[in-house]
């Protein structure tokens, strides 16, 4: 039995220690906002926060998450940056198919928690691990600037 702290709640789970956090979130806890895209930390669809840092849950063993505060897309709107990013995403209609967007938003929030005035280059670097096949990148960039503005 491993106890996870997810979005501020203690959640005990039965899982072997090497199971990726992604599948515990999705299949065991049915927190399905976090998505599977590649399983190799290549696309960022599975991005969550561990102690405020963006990590790829598809390659994070659940045992490594046991002592951390985990935040997922389901809880990220509780914070000021998360709320600002989600509002900007809606305001600019960033999404198309939407499947990668949980991960995009989690990466964007982690960026803004660190850097309240990111440049385009900062955005490119922080978001470079998140693939969007619909290529909504123009709006992702604009929405991050918009969220930064609303947080200022």
């Amino acid at each position: 039995m491993i106890t996870l702290n997810i979005n501020g709640q203690e959640m005990p789970v039965e899982a072997s220690p090497e199971t990726p956090l992604l599948w515990v979130l999705r299949d065991t806890l049915q927190l399905t906002g976090t998505k599977y895209g590649c399983g190799m930390s290549l696309c960022g669809a599975c991005t969550v926060h561990m102690d405020g840092k963006a990590v790829r849950s598809c390659v994070t063993p659940v045992s490594a998450a046991a002592d951390a505060k985990i935040q997922t897309i389901e809880g990220v709107g509780e914070g000021a940056a998360g709320k600002a990013v989600q509002q900007a995403w809606e305001q600019l209609d960033v999404v198309q198919c939407g499947y990668c967007q949980s991960g995009q938003i989690m990466s964007a929030v982690a960026l803004l928690e660190d850097n309240r005035v990111p440049s385009d280059a900062d955005i490119d670097e922080a978001m470079g691990g998140n693939v969007c096949r619909c290529a909504t990148y123009v709006r992702i960039r604009a929405a991050i600037h918009e969220a930064a503005k609303s947080l200022a």
């Binding site: 599948w23 399983g39 669809a45 209609d93 198309q96 198919c97 499947y99 978001m127 096949r133 990148y137």
Partner: protein, 725 residues
Amino acid sequence: MTRSIENESRRRFLQGATGLTLALYFPWAMARNPESGGTQAARFEPNAFLRIGEDNSVTVVSKHLEMGQGTYTGLATIVAEELDAAWSQVRVESAPADNSRYNNLQWGPMQGTGGSSAIANSWEQLRHAGASARAMLVAAAAQRWQVPAQEIAVAGGVLTHAASGRQASFGELASAAAEQAVPEQVELKQPADFKLIGQPLRRKDSAAKTNGSAVYTQDIHLPGMLTAVVAHPPRLGGVVASVDAKPAMAIDGVTDVVQIPSGVAVLARDTWTAKRGRDALDIKWDESAAIRLNSEQAFERFRQLAASPGAVARQDGDAETALAGAEQLLEAEYDFPYLAHAAMEPMNCVIRLAEGRCEAWYGAQIQTRDQAQLAALFGLEPEQVSIHTLYAGGSFGRRASTSSDYIVETAHIVKAIDGRAPVKLVWLREDDMQAGSYRPMFHHRLRAGLDGQSMLVAWQHRLVGQSIAAGTGSDAGGGVDPSSVEGAANLPYAIPNMLVDLHTPTDIGVPVLWWRAVGSTHTAFSTECFIDELAQATGRDPVAWRLAMLQEHPRHAGVLKLAAEQAGWDTPLAPGRDGERRGRGVAVHEAFNSYVAQVAEVTVQSDGSYRVDRVVCAVDCGIAINPDVIRAQVEGSVGFALSAAMSEAITFTDGKVDQSNFHNYTPLRIADMPRVEVHILPSAAAPTGIGEPPVPPLAPALVNALAAATGKRIRRLPIGDQLAG
């Protein structure tokens, strides 16, 4: 029993009989491609596209899949416009699979989404749906208030009678409206009266896709459900010779190992356990019928085929004679690799078999075909197969599989366990990448003849590539698959002698499929690059020369002019820094009756690396239902097409796909995304699609820009590092 789908959905509508259910009946004409002059047989079909609840909600039922292209938003806008609803009261839900009500009117008796047809085929249908509902609400209000119907105004979901000061919401009138007769004829609005159409209304799916609550196939959990991961043969065409299931069955949580036609499936309580079980299998494959394809050898064979005439797709005048008599002869060959769709959500499907019925949950793109395949497999009538169409995490054509491959695979697994549990099939990224169904590889050879005044007098275009439509029942016969030559056979330029012909190899063994913009993904490239080469060879301006040859094609010319103007084509490009070379390139193309021109600006470094700085796009897709959704589709199409042009390729070595995941099939990332400017040509023409048409012009515009910057002509995609050295 065979009517149960319809009964069930009617019951659901009636349960909403807290409100008005409108089953609308009206005539519709078979949609026609204005250029092909198809049939126009009028028929009656029942349709049910909206319901209004007493809670004042307007629910629009979408017969089309929302895979990112904004269909839910666009279709709902059309209904809401004629209904005079408030945008805030409108929500959208997916239609059930039912080809008696939800056909794609461009496809005959077939429910499905594709060919950028959702808006085009629904336009008149949904306007009538909205206007009929509005008329019934007005009739109900007139009756209740005892006033003439023509004195009642409707706006923002509220009916008003000014003289008596009465007003009522849609919700208040819903039950009374349900008692009214469905009008036989309704008057549709004039475009000048549109209130919602043409406005940048917010997408209906933004909130759910921003807070993680949108439900995709991957997110379905049914009681008792098992998750399946499949071991597929390492080479297409391979089959299982023997399998040792013991190591997989030894894993806690693995419940079944079953052999199915496409491989071996491991079922388990969750995805990770199923994957571990799959990886533990010891399988011997019989590869006697497997393919042994090598991409380079295949290209070599395609080139040999291109030396002889193929099946004729277009013949104007006498191209051979004109070429022989030409003053100047130019020739170029272009190569295109297989491409994967690589949607962010790998293919997946959930199926439950219970009480003589099959229920399926997934991002269904061609419901009618899938329904027929599932029915045949389970020995059911199509009506006994329910499909719950969910949001699709991208498709780009993949979910319009001609064989319903991953859906049929799920059904085989359910069958193999005698339907004792619902099954979710999960393809891992590697399965998705290596399963075939690619954009076909193609080889093109073009020859052009110029006369003494450098006028283009002859054009010969030969294509070699597999047919997508062959065997699907949708090929036109005569050896020419229209989807292989679209964009080539209808080249718009005024050239007196033209021959377009096609070789279709049938023994390759790689499944091929529609890929966003289909034939135009290669034909726009070869034609627009070759035109550019000819312009350069004759010292002509690429825009002015195209315009001179487009006098009979005002919509092509319209977008080309607009893009050139907005890009500042006639003013020199700002120079780069030391060592940088800059260039600008243009392309124009029509696909699915929408017209798009793009001007790309590039900067090339001394080491041959390059970036696309800016892409200026002009589009003519008829009436712009939602200009912001159109802009988003153009932006995304530019990125999607740029991704393929820069670095995507599926290649084969001894029958094995060389790529497996995003490290060796490398999609565009944010740092390579250019600035995109979108200009929409005002139009009063009926709306056409925008999901695919902005894809084709990007690669030729880019490669023409690279040629302008460096003098080097790229004739093989992807571009890769061809500019280095």
